[in-house]
C-alpha cells in the first residue's frame, strides 16, 4: 500500500500555514452565487401558508380562490381537513406564482378553518408539563448516597439554558425544477451528496434522477441536511407548472419559527467534593425540550465523566413549538453549562480559584494532560492569576469585573468520503468530490492537501465540489468534514501521483518509487538535477488523464485523521450592577484539533464559535407566549445576535505542538462553540458574587439575581 502519511510537520510547505481562502474574491466582490441568488429564466416564486395556532386541527381548507388568481401556477394543500397540527408555523399549504407578490397575495385567498386545541409551549416550569414530561429513568454509578455522606463539602445549584435558533443569515430554501425526466435541485444545504436521495425518496423517483448543485451556503450550523417540506412542495409545484423552476426560501419569521432549534436544559445539580476540591459525587435532576418530539439529553457530567458516584434523572418535555435540529455541537453547550457552572459554584464555596478546581479534577476527564496544558495556556493569555479574585470581591464600584472558565470536548472524526484527483496531460489538476464548503474553508483545505501532496502551488489545484455527480462525500455535520475530505483527497492525490511517477520514470532513468514531487518538479530522490517540470512530466501522459480515487472510511480511518479533542475557553466580563448590563471584555480560546490544515481558517472557526457563544450567553432566547402559543421574537430585532460592539477582545490559540499534530486531522467546527457560554456565566457570578441561574444573562435576570442576594 502506498504511504499516505502526512509529511513530517517541519517539512510541510502549505499545511498548517495561514493561507487565504480560494473563494474569497467572489465572496468579497458580491459575485458568489448562493442558492437564494439564483434567478433562472421563467422562475416561479413559492410561498408557504403556515398554521396560526400552536395546536389545532384543520377542519376545512378551500384553495379555489387562490387557484383562480392570475399568475398562480400551482396550489398545494399540505394539511388537508382533519390534520392535527402540533406547532404554530407548521406548513398548511403552498403556492407558486409568477411573482413573489402574487404568491403572497394568493396565500391570503386560501380559506382555512381550525379547531383550536390546548397547547403547552413553555417547559421552564416542569410542574406545568404534567404528562408531557417523559422521565428517562434514573442512571446510577457507584454509591452517590455514601458519596455525599463522606463529602467534605456539598454544593447544590439550579441552572437553565433556553431554546435558541440557528438563525442562519441565508434562510432555508432552494430553487428546484422538475422536468419530465429529471429534477434539478439548487438547495442551501450541508448535504450535497445526500439531499438528492432524500428528495428522490419523497418524490418517489430513482435517486439517479435528482441532480443537486450548490456553490455556496449562507450558514447551516446543523439545520440544513434534508430536503424539507418546502423543498418537496417546491418540486411538486414545479412539476405542476410545466417544469418551470420554483424558488422557495423561508422568510425570517418562518425561519426562526420552524427551521430548527437547539434544545433547552434546566435542572438541579448537586456536587460532593473533598476539601481540596476533588469531586467525588454528582447528582442531577434535569429536563429539556426540543419541541414536540421532546428531545435533548445532555451528556452530563460533561467531560468530567469519571466522577465515581453519580445519580442522574432526566425528562424530555414535549411542547407545541418548532422542532429540534442539530445545533453546532448538539447537547454539548447544555451539558457544559450544567456541569461547569456547578464546578464554579463548588470552587466558590471552597473559596478556591476555579482554575485549580478544574485542573485538579482533570483526572476525571479522558485527557487530563491536554486540559491541564490548555488551562495553563489559557490562563497565561487571560492573565488569570493577576486578574482573578474570589467570588464577589470585585471592589466597591458599580462596575464589577469577573473571570470564568469552562472546558469542552468533541469527537469529530471523518465522514465517509471519496475523492478523485485528476492529473491532466497539460499539467492541470482537478480534485472532485461531492462535498460542500459551509464557509469554513473546505474548498481551500482540499486544495491545500492536494497541493502539498503533489508539490504544487495552491493555485494549481482546481477544486470541484457542490455537485452530487461527483464522488460521494458525507454531509457536513458533527465536525466530520475536514477529516473526511482531507483523508480522501490525500489518498486520491498520492494514488494519482504514483501513476504519474510510473508514467515518467523511464524518461528519468529511474524506478517509480525513486521519484518525488517537489516545488513543481518530478525529480529523482537524492539527485534533484534529474528532474522534469510538472508540466513536462504531465505531457508524457499523451492524451489520457490520470484519475485515481481516494477514500476515507468512517469506521476505518487509518492514521491521517482521528477523533476527540479538548478545548478551554475563558471569559472576562464587566457587569454594571445598576443597569444589569453584562459587557464582554475579553475571551480566550485554546483549542486542539490535531493536525491543522489551514491555520487562518481554523482560527476563524474558533473566533466564530466564540461570537456564537457570546450571543447565546448574553442575548439569544426563543421567547414563547403562553397564551397564544406564538414565538414572540421571530425576527432579528427581538431575536438578538451579538454585534461587533458586543464581543470584546477575542484571543485564539490553536494547539499545534507535536503531540497534538501527531494525532492527525480532527474537526473543529463544533468544539469552538461550546465552552464560552458557561465561562461567561461563571464570569458573571465571579463579578457580582451571585449566580445568575438562567442564560442568557440579560439585564433583568442579572438585576433579579442581585436583588435576590440582598433581599
Amino acid at each position: 500500500m502506498p504511504n499516505y502519511n502526512w509529511p513530517p510537520q517541519g517539512q510541510r510547505r502549505l499545511m498548517g500555514k495561514r493561507l487565504s481562502r480560494l473563494d474569497g474574491i467572489e465572496k468579497a466582490s458580491g459575485y458568489a452565487k448562493y442558492a437564494s441568488d439564483l434567478n433562472p429564466p421563467n422562475l416561479l416564486h413559492g410561498a408557504l401558508l403556515t398554521a396560526p395556532h400552536a395546536h389545532c386541527r384543520v377542519t376545512s381548507i378551500d384553495v379555489s380562490e387562490a387557484k383562480a388568481m392570475q399568475g398562480v401556477t400551482s396550489v398545494r394543500v399540505i394539511a388537508p381537513a382533519g390534520t392535527e397540527i402540533q406547532w404554530r408555523g407548521a406548513e398548511v399549504a403552498a403556492v407558486s406564482a409568477t411573482s413573489e407578490t402574487i404568491a403572497l397575495d394568493a396565500l391570503k385567498k386560501i380559506k382555512v378553518q381550525y379547531e383550536v386545541l390546548p397547547h403547552l409551549v413553555k417547559e421552564e416550569d416542569l410542574k406545568k408539563a404534567g404528562p408531557r414530561a417523559k422521565a428517562a429513568g434514573e442512571q446510577l454509578t457507584g454509591d452517590p448516597d455514601q458519596g455525599f455522606k463522606e463529602a467534605d463539602v456539598v454544593v447544590e445549584g439550579y441552572y437553565g439554558i433556553p431554546v435558541i435558533t440557528h438563525c442562519c443569515l441565508e434562510p432555508h430554501g432552494q430553487v428546484v425544477e422538475w422536468k419530465s425526466d429529471a429534477v434539478n435541485m439548487f438547495p442551501s444545504t450541508q448535504n450535497v451528496t445526500g439531499i438528492g436521495g432524500d428528495l428522490a425518496k419523497a418524490l418517489e423517483l430513482p435517486a439517479t434522477q435528482v441532480r443537486v448543485q450548490m456553490n455556496h451556503i449562507g450558514g447551516g450550523f446543523g439545520s440544513k441536511f434534508v430536503s424539507d417540506r418546502w423543498g418537496i412542495e417546491a418540486a411538486h409545484m414545479s412539476k405542476e407548472s410545466g417544469g418551470r423552476p420554483v424558488k422557495l426560501f423561508l422568510d425570517r419569521e418562518t425561519e426562526l419559527t420552524i427551521a430548527g432549534v437547539r434544545p433547552s436544559c434546566f435542572g438541579k445539580v448537586k456536587l460532593g467534593a473533598k476539601k481540596d476540591g476533588t469531586i467525588t459525587t454528582w447528582e442531577s435532576d434535569t429536563w429539556a425540550t426540543g419541541g414536540h418530539g421532546g428531545g435533548g439529553s445532555p451528556p452530563i457530567p460533561y467531560v468530567f465523566t469519571n466522577i465515581p458516584n453519580q445519580r442522574k434523572a432526566h425528562s424530555a418535555v414535549s411542547i407545541n413549538a418548532g422542532g429540534v435540529r442539530a445545533w453546532r455541537a448538539p447537547n454539548h453547550q447544555q451539558a457544559c453549562f450544567m456541569t461547569d457552572c456547578a464546578l464554579e459554584d463548588l470552587a466558590a464555596k471552597l473559596n478556591m480559584d476555579p482554575l485549580d478546581v478544574f485542573a485538579k479534577n482533570a483526572d476525571l476527564t479522558p485527557r487530563p494532560e491536554v486540559y491541564r496544558n490548555q488551562l495553563r495556556q489559557a490562563a497565561e493569555l487571560m492573565d488569570w492569576k493577576k486578574k482573578w479574585h474570589p467570588r464577589g470581591q470585585s471592589g466597591s464600584g458599580t462596575l464589577k469585573r469577573g473571570l470564568g472558565v469552562a472546558i469542552h470536548t468533541w469527537q469529530g472524526g471523518g465522514h465517509d468520503s471519496k475523492a478523485i484527483c485528476r492529473i491532466n496531460p497539460d499539467g492541470t489538476v482537478e480534485v472532485e468530490l461531492g462535498s460542500q464548503d459551509l464557509g469554513t474553508g473546505t474548498r481551500t483545505a482540499i486544495a491545500i492537501v492536494a497541493a502539498e501532496t503533489l508539490g504544487l502551488p495552491l493555485n494549481a489545484i482546481r477544486v470541484k465540489i457542490g455537485d452530487n455527480q461527483y464522488p460521494p462525500s458525507g454531509a457536513s455535520g458533527g465536525s466530520t468534514t475536514i477529516g473526511g475530505v482531507s483523508a480522501s483527497t490525500r489518498k486520491a492525490s498520492v494514488n494519482s501521483l504514483e501513476k504519474l511517477f510510473a508514467a515518467v520514470a523511464p524518461s528519468l532513468g529511474a524506478q517509480a518509487d525513486q521519484l518525488e514531487a517537489v516545488d513543481g518538479r518530478i525529480q529523482v530522490k537524492g539527485q534533484a538535477s534529474k528532474n522534469l517540470t510538472w508540466k513536462a512530466a504531465c505531457n508524457k501522459l499523451g492524451a489520457t488523464s490520470i484519475a485515481e480515487m481516494g477514500e476515507n472510511e468512517r469506521r476505518n480511518p487509518g492514521s491521517l485523521i482521528s477523533a476527540g479533542v479538548g478545548g478551554v475557553q475563558m471569559a472576562e466580563v464587566e457587569v454594571d450592577t445598576e443597569t444589569g448590563i453584562v459587557r464582554m471584555i475579553k475571551s480566550v480560546a485554546v483549542q486542539d484539533c490535531g493536525t491543522v490544515v489551514n491555520l487562518k481558517t481554523a482560527e476563524s472557526q474558533v473566533y466564530g464559535g466564540c461570537i456564537m457563544s457570546i450571543a447565546a450567553a448574553l442575548l439569544e432566547e426563543r421567547v414563547m407566549d403562553e397564551q397564544t402559543g406564538r414565538v414572540l421574537n421571530p425576527d432579528m430585532e427581538f431575536y438578538k445576535l451579538s454585534g461587533i460592539g458586543d464581543i470584546g477582545e477575542i484571543v485564539v490559540k490553536m494547539n499545534m505542538e507535536k503531540e497534538y499534530d501527531d494525532r492527525g486531522v480532527i474537526g473543529l467546527g463544533e468544539p469552538a462553540a461550546i465552552g464560552l457560554n458557561a465561562a461567561i456565566g461563571n464570569a458573571v457570578a465571579n463579578a457580582i458574587g451571585v449566580r445568575v441561574s438562567n442564560a442568557p444573562f440579560t439585564p433583568d435576570r442579572v438585576l433579579a439575581a442581585l436583588e435576590g442576594r440582598t433581599a
Binding site: 465572496k27 443569515l169 481558517t601 430585532e637 454585534g643
Partner: protein, 160 residues
C-alpha cells in the same frame, strides 16, 4: 396583475431603468429585477445590515427603502466597490484577514466600511465598531473584520 412603476436611477455609475411594483423594496428590485444579487437579504426588517447599500451618499438598509423611492438617486452596491477586476483594498483585506466565512454578511460589511473610510480615513477601533454596529455576522467572529478595516485603512493611506 399588480401595476408597475418605471424607475430611473444611477447604480454603480450606470443609468438603470426598471419596472417595479410600488410595494417592492429596493433590495427586491436589485436582486430580483436587476440581477444584482451581491446585496443579500438577511432579516428583511432593517436589523442585520446584509442588504446595506450606499444611496445618495448615505448607507441604508435596502430592505427598508422602496424601489420607487430610488427614483433619481445614486446607488452603490457591492458590485460597484471594485474597479473592474481591481479589488478595493477593503475587499483584499477582508479575504486576506479571513474576515469572511459563509459570506452573506460580507457585502453589507464592505459597503458600510467603505462609507466609513470615505469619511474617516483613519478610524480607531472604537469608531470602527460603532460604525459597523448595524451589521450582524453569525459565523466569522467580528475580530477579524475590525482587523481587515484597519488594514484597508492603512493600505489606502500608503497609496496617498
Amino acid at each position: 396583475m399588480p401595476t408597475t412603476v418605471r424607475v430611473e436611477c444611477t447604480i454603480n455609475d450606470e443609468t438603470r431603468e426598471f419596472l417595479c411594483e410600488p410595494r417592492q423594496s429596493l433590495l427586491e428590485c436589485l436582486r430580483d429585477v436587476l440581477g444584482l444579487t451581491g446585496t443579500k437579504e438577511g432579516c428583511n426588517d432593517g436589523n442585520c445590515g446584509s442588504c446595506t447599500v450606499m444611496m445618495d451618499g448615505r448607507i441604508v438598509p435596502s430592505c427598508l427603502v422602496l424601489g420607487v423611492e430610488s427614483q433619481g438617486s445614486e446607488i452603490t452596491t457591492i458590485e460597484g466597490v471594485a474597479r473592474g477586476s481591481e479589488l478595493h483594498p477593503l475587499q483584499t483585506a477582508f479575504l486576506e484577514s479571513a474576515a469572511l466565512q459563509c459570506g452573506i454578511c460580507t457585502p453589507g460589511f464592505i459597503v458600510a466600511a467603505k462609507a466609513l473610510l470615505d469619511r474617516n480615513p483613519r478610524p480607531d477601533e472604537h469608531e470602527i465598531r460603532l460604525w459597523l454596529a448595524n451589521n450582524l455576522c453569525r459565523c466569522t467572529g467580528y475580530d477579524k473584520i475590525i482587523r481587515a478595516v484597519q488594514q484597508a485603512a492603512a493600505t489606502l493611506q500608503e497609496a496617498k
